[in-house]
C-alpha cells in the first residue's frame, strides 16, 4: 500500500475516505509528520498539550505494541480517560492492535456501578488508563465483579522513535470486524453496546467530511466528552481523516466559562464548532460583551447543532447575541444522527439558513399530519434536521403496519445506511428488534428502527424530528407526544410558583379496557412545600392545563422523590422504565398527593 514515493491529492483524498483511521494516520505521518494535529487547552484556555501527526503515530504504536503482547485481536478493552490527548492515543492504539475499544465515562462515585455493568456486558478483561489516575480507578473496582481487571498505563509507555517504518499493507483485513463498542443507550442495569465496524466508522467519517466540505484547513474546536458519539467521531477520529488542526477543551471548561469556547473559536479562526442545543443556550445566557471585545466569529462556517431536540428560539437568541461578532445565521448546521449508525445521518445543505416548518399542532397530534396552522395559536415552529446524506436512505414508516408513509406524514424514522452497526453486543433480541426492521412488503432489506418520530417535508427534503415513538401516548384514538403533555404540566407547576427544570414523565397505562394517562413528577423541596400548602389547587391547575392544551384528561398525577425517577446518563427521563415501574405497582406517590385530587 505504501510502496510509493509520492501520492497525488486525488489518491490521498480517496485513501482518507476508504481506509480505517489508523491507516490514514500512517499516510499523514508519512506526508506531514511534523504538522500539528491536536492542541489541548487547560481550564484557562491556555495550551497545555500538543500532538503532531508523527507524535500521535508513535504513541499509538506504543499502545498497540503493549496490547498486542498480551491480548489477541477481538479482545474488549475498556478505556478510562479524562478529556485529553492520552485518550486519542489509547483509542487509536486499540484499533491498530485490532482490539475492540470500549470508551466509557470515568468510574467515579455513583458511576462505578454503570462501569461494572458495561465491563460485565462486553466481557472486557483489560482496562487502559493514565498513570496519574490508575490507582484511584483500580481502587473503585475493589469488591466488585470487575476487581480482577488487568490494567495498562498508556501515557508512560516508551516510544520507539525508530518506529517510522510505515506499514506496507492495510492494517485491517476484514472491514466488517468490530472496531469499537459504543455504550450510550440502555439503562445502568441493562447497558447496550452498539457494535461499530471499521467500515461503519470509516464511512461515517467520509460522509461527514463530504457533507460538510471539510479539508486540512478546516480548523475545529470541540469540548464534547469522548465517550459520547459526537466527541469520539468529531473530536478524535475526524481530524485524522481530514488532516486538519483540532483544538480540544474539556466539557467542564465549557460549562464553567462558555465564553472561553467562543473566544477559542475566534482565536484559532475555527471553521467548525458546535454541540447539543443546550450549548447554544448556555452561551447566550452567559454572553459577556466585555469578554467578547475583539472576538471575530466570521471564520466560523459550521455551528453543528445535534444530538438533542433543536429549538428555534435557541437559534434565534444565539444569532441575536453573536451576530454583532460576525456570526451568520447560515452558520448553523442542524444535524440528525445516532450512535446506532456511528453518529451522523443528515445535515444541511451547508451554508444555508436552518429550515423551519410551522405546523398545526392539532393536525400533528390528532392525525400525524403536517398541515399549515389553522390559526396562529395552533402553530408550532419545528427546526429541520438536515437532508440525509446521499449514502443514507431515510424513510418514514407506520410502526404498526410497517408500511411506508408518504412525505409529510408523521411516523417512525427508519434508516438504511452503510454506517448502521452490526447490532448490540451479545444481545440478539434487541438487535433483531432495533437493527432488523423490515417493511411489510419487502422482507429482504433491513432498516434501523430509530424509535424517533418524525416526517420528511416534501418542500425542503429535511428530516423533522417530533419525539420518540415508543413513548407515544394514545388517548381516545389520538396520538399524543408525551413531551407536549409534560411541557404543559411543567408550565402549570411553574405558574404555581416553581420554575422550569422540573422533570416529569407522562405515559399511558392500561386499566381494564381503558388507556389512562399518567404523569410522574419529580419532587423538589419547593414543590413539596407548595403541595403541602396548596396541593389540591396545584393538582387542579395541572389537570386544567393538560385538558386545555391537549383536550385529554390526565388521570393520575404522582409525585416521587428524585431517587425514584429513572434517567439516562445524559439526564433524560426514561419514560418507558417509569411506565414499567408504574404498571408493576412499584411507583408510590409521596404524601398521598394523588389521593387529594
Amino acid at each position: 500500500m505504501f510502496a510509493k514515493s509520492e501520492m497525488t491529492d486525488f489518491e490521498i483524498f480517496s485513501a482518507a475516505g476508504s481506509l480505517p483511521v489508523q491507516d490514514v494516520l500512517a499516510i499523514r505521518t508519512w506526508l506531514t509528520p511534523d504538522q500539528l494535529l491536536f492542541t489541548f487547552l487547560d481550564d484557562d484556555g491556555e495550551e497545555a498539550g500538543h500532538l503532531t501527526y508523527r507524535g500521535l503515530w508513535l504513541r499509538c504504536r506504543a499502545v498497540a505494541a503493549e496490547l498486542s503482547a498480551s491480548h489477541p485481536p477481538g479482545s474488549r478493552v475498556i478505556l478510562f480517560y479524562p478529556p485529553g490527548l492520552d485518550f486519542v492515543a489509547a483509542f487509536v492504539g486499540c484499533l491498530m492492535a485490532r482490539c475492540i475499544a470500549v470508551p466509557v465515562n470515568l468510574p467515579v462515585r455513583r458511576r462505578v456501578g454503570r462501569s461494572v455493568g458495561i465491563i460485565e456486558d462486553c466481557g472486557a478483561t483489560v482496562a487502559l488508563a493514565p498513570s496519574d489516575q490508575i490507582a484511584e480507578f483500580k481502587k473503585s473496582f475493589e469488591d466488585t465483579t470487575a476487581s480482577d481487571l488487568h490494567w495498562i498505563v498508556t501515557d508512560t509507555l516508551p516510544l520507539d522513535e525508530a518506529a517510522d517504518d510505515l506499514p506496507f499493507s492495510r492494517s485491517v483485513a476484514d472491514m466488517n470486524a468490530v472496531a469499537y463498542l459504543q455504550y450510550t443507550s440502555g439503562s445502568t442495569s441493562n447497558p447496550k453496546g452498539v457494535m461499530i465496524t471499521f467500515d461503519n466508522m470509516t464511512t461515517n467519517c467520509r460522509m461527514i467530511r463530504d457533507t460538510l466540505r471539510l479539508n486540512e484547513d478546516s480548523t475545529m474546536v470541540f469540548w464534547q466528552p469522548h465517550h459520547h458519539d459526537m466527541g469520539l467521531i468529531c473530536s478524535v477520529l475526524l481530524p485524522i481523516v481530514i488532516g486538519n488542526h483540532t483544538v480540544l477543551m474539556t466539557p467542564n471548561t465549557f460549562v464553567r466559562q462558555p465564553m472561553l469556547w467562543i473566544q477559542t473559536i475566534s482565536k484559532y479562526r475555527a471553521e467548525v464548532a458546535g454541540g447539543p442545543n443546550f450549548a447554544f443556550d448556555i452561551a447566550s445566557e452567559r454572553y459577556s460583551a466585555a469578554k467578547l471585545a475583539g472576538v471575530d466569529l466570521s471564520n466560523w462556517r459550521l455551528a453543528l447543532n445535534g444530538s438533542d431536540i433543536v429549538r428555534a428560539t435557541t437559534l434565534d437568541r444565539f444569532v441575536e447575541r453573536f451576530e454583532p461578532h460576525g456570526f451568520k445565521p447560515e452558520t448553523f448546521l442542524v444535524c440528525y444522527g445516532m450512535a446506532e449508525a456511528v453518529l451522523f445521518l443528515s445535515a444541511g445543505p451547508v451554508g444555508r439558513k436552518p429550515r423551519y416548518a410551522i405546523v398545526d399542532v392539532e393536525s400533528l397530534e390528532l392525525y400525524g399530519r403536517v398541515r399549515s396552522p389553522s390559526s396562529q395559536a395552533q402553530g408550532r415552529r419545528l427546526v429541520g434536521c438536515g437532508e440525509p446524506s446521499w449514502e443514507v436512505e431515510a424513510i418514514i414508516v407506520d410502526a404498526e403496519t410497517r408500511r411506508r408513509l408518504p412525505d409529510g406524514e408523521v411516523g417512525e424514522i427508519w434508516i438504511n445506511s452503510p454506517t448502521v452497526g452490526l447490532g448490540y453486543w451479545e444481545n440478539p433480541d434487541e438487535t433483531e428488534r432495533v437493527f432488523h426492521g423490515k417493511l411489510a412488503d419487502n422482507a429482504t432489506k433491513f432498516y434501523l428502527r430509530t424509535g424517533d418520530l418524525g416526517f420528511i417535508h416534501p418542500d425542503d427534503r429535511q428530516i423533522y424530528v417530533c419525539g420518540r415513538i415508543k413513548d407515544l401516548i394514545i388517548s381516545e384514538g389520538r396520538n399524543l407526544h408525551p413531551e407536549d403533555i409534560e411541557y404543559s404540566i411543567v408550565e402549570a407547576l411553574s405558574a404555581a410558583g416553581d420554575s422550569n427544570a422540573i422533570s416529569c414523565a407522562a405515559f399511558n397505562a392500561q386499566q381494564g379496557d381503558e388507556q389512562l394517562i399518567v404523569a410522574v413528577v419529580e419532587l423538589n423541596r419547593a414543590l413539596k412545600r407548595n403541595l403541602a400548602e396548596s396541593g389540591p389547587d396545584i393538582e387542579n391547575a395541572v389537570r386544567r392545563a393538560v385538558a386545555a392544551d391537549h383536550g385529554v384528561t390526565l388521570h393520575q398525577l404522582l409525585f416521587v422523590p428524585p431517587t425514584a425517577m429513572c434517567k439516562t446518563t445524559s439526564g433524560k427521563v426514561q419514560r418507558g422504565l417509569m411506565r414499567q415501574l408504574y404498571a408493576g405497582g412499584a411507583l408510590k406517590s409521596l404524601e398521598g398527593a394523588e389521593a387529594i385530587a
Binding site: V255, R256, Q257, R286, S499, I502, N524, R525, R529
Partner: protein, 83 residues
C-alpha cells in the same frame, strides 16, 4: 450588586441556588451542606464560572468541596478577593 462582603456573596449564591435548583430562598440555610440542595457537579461548575465573572478572579472548583456550605464558601471567596 457589588460583592464585597460575606453577606453580599452569600446572597448571590442563594439567588443562584434558588434559580438553578428551584429551592425557595426561605428554605436555604447558609450553614447547610451544598450537596443537600441537590447541587450537582455541573451546577457547581456553573456557579464557579458565574462567581469568577462577578468577582473577577479565578476560582479553583475544588474550593466548593473544601468549603461546602454557603457561609464557608462565601468567607473563603472574600479571603481570595482580599489577597
Amino acid at each position: 450588586m457589588s460583592l464585597q462582603t460575606v453577606e453580599a456573596i452569600e446572597e448571590y449564591i442563594v439567588t443562584y441556588i434558588e434559580r438553578e435548583l428551584h429551592i425557595s430562598s426561605s428554605e436555604i440555610d447558609c450553614d447547610m451542606s451544598l450537596g443537600a440542595f441537590g447541587m450537582s457537579s455541573k451546577s457547581g461548575l456553573k456557579l464557579v464560572g458565574l462567581l469568577e465573572d462577578r468577582l473577577d478572579i479565578r476560582i479553583d472548583p475544588k474550593l466548593i468541596f473544601a468549603h461546602p456550605t454557603i457561609s464557608r464558601l462565601s468567607s473563603a471567596l472574600l479571603d481570595l478577593l482580599q489577597k
